[in-house]
Symmetry: C2
Subunit: 322 residues, 2 copies
């Protein structure tokens, strides 16, 4: 008995308050859930989620429907909720269809946060994602810089998705506002397809021989523009700024065909999302007296996770090893 | 020797990875620095900062120039930097004047974050603060709700400061966009003075007898409007939405003269600001390989800390005890 007490005392002296408040609970598992779950894009998010869990010594699981199929995605989510995990970080395939399961999870006392694609009316504690308009602003400023503030530029995009439109708006507005010597001559439809994007790029090069650069609002368009610019033997002369950090895009930056790409803060979405869930679960949040009963949110309601302009100088950092 | 080894082993077995990564360092002190440092507004921010530090078992210090005097504020900040603390969370009295000291601190390896008032070109890791436009949107929606979507309303404000203008814009835009049965009939100048704000409010009541409500974009204007509405014996009939959670405003909500006030996420500014500094200092952030050399930010670049509409139902929560 004496020895046991001694051990407890000595060990206890070495422990700080944090051990009590933030010590991991052995049975607790935190889930990150996506759709088209094999997508390369999610790897950066889950790396952040795992990195944060490792800091606290907590357990994480990655899951999601492998296909782009709403019913399947909802089934996977509902099965996870039934396990009553310690917390769930969700990228929502559909903002409306996710309301019911998220409300159900939160009614069961499971902390829920969302990332990359939100369900704003679900009551989730917070959403972490990219400000796509700001991403377009960054792309425009980098284009302005590499073009020396002069010349005609074009956009290769996909009409439809709101996040894609916001990127294009941010780009076009910023060129118009901040670069009086530049002009967006065309917003071309690449259809989210490499061959169509290459054709659209080739058409612009033919109709506007003075063209200095292309902003491609998603990675497939970037592959197409890169192909067309190479075929026109204009690599390095006609500049390309693409989006996201797929291996093909990074390779093309190394090769010197794509000048830069806009990296989203995927690691931030995972790392800080986990922190939010963990502090919620461990009940360390107390913004004001009686906040829970009063329905007061102890988290920032939305977090812009930022973007980085990835050029040749830093491209090697983005080949993530899992 | 045997006993010591045994102790170390037993203790070690009970410790998780987090103890190594996030255990507090005894000599480390984290500073929160403001200006007009006695202001009531900062108490909520520092409560969040302290609450977060307590979770990790870390030490915090609050400091700042008591007066509204730039040179004095900079002197206090520079003295803190000279102590080489573990991290500094700063509300910047001036965005430009704070660039040099923040750059100096970061060159010394001190993590720096800002809150409430930013210095965006200083290179600080992140800024946490209120989206003032969104705050105005919330005020408008609550006004729309309590007026049943109908009637004339007015604003009592102070021309000049950008954050105040953004609140008024958010309010006016939202009334125009979302409430076709309502109209902002006047944006009155209360001069940031209670007597002037009361006079401005009384003038509107006289010129527009149909007036249904006032949005006061800062707390002093709210005191003035409350005074005028009481003098007109119209408490509860003419609605008031004010800003921030000064004791006087909370008392007036309890009394039924002010309907609601917009609380900023001050606790969030402190709690999550501390977490950002602590994780930076403990080197737990690694978004991509070689991120430091590549200049990549492992934090969200800006965080909207949110607002809460404080009504009679939840007003008691906001009387913070320190």
């Amino acid at each position: 008995v004496f020895l046991v007490l001694l051990l407890a005392t000595v060990c206890g002296m070495g422990l700080s308050a944090q051990v009590k408040a933030l010590a991991p609970v052995a049975k607790d598992e935190y889930y990150m859930v996506t759709f088209v779950s094999g997508g390369e894009y999610w790897k950066g998010c889950f790396k952040g989620f795992k990195d944060a869990a490792a800091v606290y010594g907590a357990k994480v699981v990655y899951d999601g429907a492998p296909e782009y199929e709403l019913n399947r995605a909802l089934t996977v989510l509902n099965q996870i909720i039934d396990k009553k995990p310690a917390g769930i970080h969700i990228s929502c395939m559909d903002p409306v269809a996710y309301i019911d399961p998220i409300k159900r999870a939160m009614a069961m006392g499971i902390p829920v946060t969302t990332f990359d694609a939100d369900s704003p009316d679900s009551g989730r504690h917070t959403y972490l994602g990219t400000s796509n308009y700001t991403a377009g602003v960054y792309a425009a400023r980098h284009m302005g810089k590499i073009c020396g503030g002069k010349g005609d530029v074009a956009v290769v995009t996909v009409p439809g998705p709101l996040n894609i439109k916001q990127r294009v708006d941010g780009f076009s507005d910023t060129i118009a506002k901040e670069f009086p010597g530049m002009k967006v001559v065309q917003i071309a439809n690449g259809g989210g397809d490499q061959t169509k994007s290459a054709q659209a790029t080739a058409n612009v090069i033919q109709s506007t021989p003075s063209i200095k650069g292309f902003f491609c609002s998603e990675s497939i368009g970037g592959f197409g523009s890169a192909q067309a610019v190479k075929e026109a033997k204009a690599a390095g002369k006609i500049h390309i700024i693409s989006f996201d950090t797929d291996k093909g895009t990074l390779d093309s930056i190394k090769e010197g065909v794509i000048d830069a790409t806009i990296a989203q803060g995927t690691w931030n979405m995972g790392y800080w999302g986990f922190n939010f869930l963990y502090h919620l679960k461990h009940n360390t949040l107390n913004p004001v007296e009686g906040w829970k009963a009063a329905g007061i949110n102890p988290l920032p309601p939305t977090v812009d996770t930022g973007v980085t302009v990835v050029t040749k100088d830093i491209v090697n950092s983005y080949y993530i090893k899992y």
